[in-house]
Amino acid sequence: MTPVATPFFFYFLAALSVGSALGVILRKNAVHSAIFLIFTLLAQAGLYLMLYAPFVAGVQIILYAGGIMVLFLFVIMLVNLERSLKEEQFNKQWVVGTMVGVLFGAVILLVYRSGAGSFPKTLAVLQESTNTQDIGVMLYRNYMMPFEVASLLLLVAIVGAVVMAKKRI
């Protein structure tokens, strides 16, 4: 099945994601930043769908927009908001930092320009209907060891988070 109106959706989602990312780093209020970040994540999930990656899109929405962002909002509520709103939100090096960022982007664009021809011309065959199944098979066959290490990492992170948030360390 050929997708409909691909350019429109791509530019819409890309503009939504980049514009919301701008909101994340420019808003004074940390809660507004978090809301903008949720919009960025949802737009990215749409982009993943356009790249024939429905499972990653679902994980993105459930885990990122659902789980991690709730964590962020809880922490924003725990650290006090009223005092920090009156403070300066950007440090003294923001001019230099922004210039370095723009320069870095220019370098990456130059690399893209010179390397654009080296991509393969044909697209990979990605079955959208069995995407989840294929990823599961690949996780348990090709990436068995990294999968187990990731589970260990999550266990360590849970223990670490509990220890960090305890009253007395």
């Binding site: 982009l47 790249l51 993105q60 991690i68 725990l78 440090n91 990456i108």
Partner: protein, 101 residues
Amino acid sequence: MAEIGTMHYLVVAMMLFILGVVGVVTRRNVVVILMSIELILNAVNLNLVAFSRLYGLHGQVFAIFVIVDAAAEAAVGLGIVIAFFRNKETVNVDEIDLLKW
């Protein structure tokens, strides 16, 4: 309009990455800095998934690993923020200078 290729996605990911880096470098609030790190990780994820369109499913599997790492990083990082806020009553990075002499 022209057809959307891999390069379009790479440019979007590049913009998100730059915005994340600028956020990390310029903001003072630790929580917003952690959010900017999430932006950077998302840019990497978009790159991985975009290349998985060309080279097969491995990129998507790696994107899932990156999401797992992001979850672990957010949990531990925010735990550190809470612990620090309890001790020093601040979340501004330029006031967190215990190791500076």
